[in-house]
Amino acid sequence: MRPLTEAETRVVFEKLGRYIGENIQLLVDRPDGTYCFRLHRDRVYYLSEKLLKVAACIPRESLVSLGTCFGKFTKSQKFRLSVTALDFLAPYAKYKVWVKPGSEQSFLYGNHVLKSGLGRITENTAQYQGVVVYSMADVPLGFGVAAKSTQECRKVDPMAIVVFHQADVGEYVRNEDTLT
């Protein structure tokens, strides 16, 4: 377990910034305690200082997970956000997409969101912008990347993909073994 280097921090913040923009400050600088990022076995964890002090006592081989896993670094040092970060992305999300009840299940199975399943989308969403996907009852379902900007969404045909799937809460059941 070690803190992130400058380059790694930059990569992680860039990725997070695609979904929550400048609200990362609220994650870094919290009024209710000191929270920090730590790297353990290529996975980035977000945890409070109290928890860090306790976790520091556990030997490296026995330590499985600590705090909240935000994602992992791949072999080529790219950062991949995982669904376990959703609890921290959803409240600070800048661009949101609401999905109709009919195609909620499709999204939770790992499929992309089609125009026919699109309920609402935040105004001014650019193409390839990171978005958080909600159900119509404002329950966060996951996150993804907008395949079309808001303007284009209005014009495109019903079978076109509007949001690329990246992570959804169904992964908690599907990838139970590999999530930490």
């Binding site: 070690r2 803190p3 921090t9 284009e152």
Partner: protein, 327 residues
């Protein structure tokens, strides 16, 4: 009685004044040479030979007086230098020393070159000279220029050699691949042994022979020169703390492990500092965003066009409606 006392007091005071003035002025036959950059004063006056002969308290007093006089002259020169108050109005008066002119000699003798290795001795004896090899070799099979060794070498990948001929007079049951591998390992081990032996010989012969030769040879690689520069920087009395940087040297102090091992921040280090560093990083990242976002501009344009289209449609419908009603 009182008058006599007063006279005595006055006389004593006058004597003291004269003493002070005398102590400040120093008479010398030859002027001293000063190098104020090194705080050096060179006295070329021949000393009183009688005073210096033989050890003892007399010699001590003579030497002490000499030292005091020369120091007085040196300090008088220092007072002539341009000075300023360091650290504001109430700080100490600091003189600005000029550049040193006197070249100080080496403290220790220069390092000796390392003794020649066994091969070097043999080569010198036989008159064998080093021949520079070409980096590329013509590969007849592949019909192109390939490296002499390394990735995609001429002569094929040795790991993929599927054929190993049994030489004449060798045991037919012997595993040729194993033999080749073993022989290579032996060659490598022998090479390493000889290298270590040469190092040990050099270490025994010289006082402290560095791994990389510190005196300039004509053929030193860039890394070697960098290493030498680093060693030279640290080889001062203050271990390089006050050494000015070379023109193109990086401005940070060299890490203690300038080798391959990576060093990370401590796990439970100063969390407040970490937080402030991250906020700085966020601020830097935020400020670099481009002022003109092309996609937003395109979207804005699209929206304008849509609005215009909608307005035109509305006008058409209203006009049609009016015409219809009139009919």
């Amino acid at each position: 009685m009182a008058a006599v006392r007063v006279e005595e007091v006055l006389a004593a005071a006058e004597e003291q004044e004269a003493e002070k003035r005398r102590s400040v002025t120093v008479e010398k036959e030859l002027e001293l040479e000063f190098d104020l950059g090194n705080l050096l004063a060179l006295d070329r006056n021949p000393p009183a030979a009688a005073g210096l002969r033989g050890a003892g308290p007399r010699r001590e007093t003579v030497l002490r007086a000499l030292a005091r006089d020369n120091t007085q002259l040196l300090v008088a020169q220092l007072w002539d230098l341009p000075a300023e108050r360091a650290g504001g109005a109430g700080g100490p008066l600091v003189a600005q020393l000029p550049e040193p002119t006197f070249r100080l000699p080496r403290e220790k003798p220069p390092p000796r070159p390392r003794p020649p290795t066994r091969w070097e001795q043999f080569a010198r004896l036989k008159g064998i000279r080093k021949r520079k090899r070409t980096s590329l070799v013509w590969d007849e099979q592949a019909k192109e220029w390939r490296r002499r060794w390394g990735y995609r070498r001429a002569g094929g990948d040795p790991a993929r050699a599927w054929l190993a001929e049994v030489p004449e007079g060798a045991d037919p049951e012997e595993d040729q691949f194993a033999r080749l591998r073993r022989e290579k390992q032996e060659r490598v081990a022998r090479n390493e042994l000889n290298r270590l032996r040469n190092l040990a010989r050099a270490h025994r012969a010289g006082t402290a022979v560095p791994a990389v030769p510190l005196h300039p040879t004509g053929h030193q690689s860039r890394e070697e020169l960098g290493h030498v520069a680093r060693v030279a920087r640290v080889s001062t009395a203050s271990l390089g703390r006050f050494q000015p940087r070379l023109p193109k040297e990086s401005a940070e102090p060299p890490s203690r492990s300038s080798g391959k091992k990576r060093r990370f921040e401590p796990l439970l280090g100063n969390l407040a500092a970490e937080r402030s560093r991250q906020l700085e990083l966020l601020r830097d990242m935020g400020s670099k965003k481009p002022v003109l976002d092309i996609t937003r501009a395109v979207n804005k344009q699209l929206r304008q066009e849509e609005a215009e289209a909608a307005a035109a449609k509305g006008k058409k419908q209203s006009r049609r409606g009016k015409r219809g009603r009139r009919q």
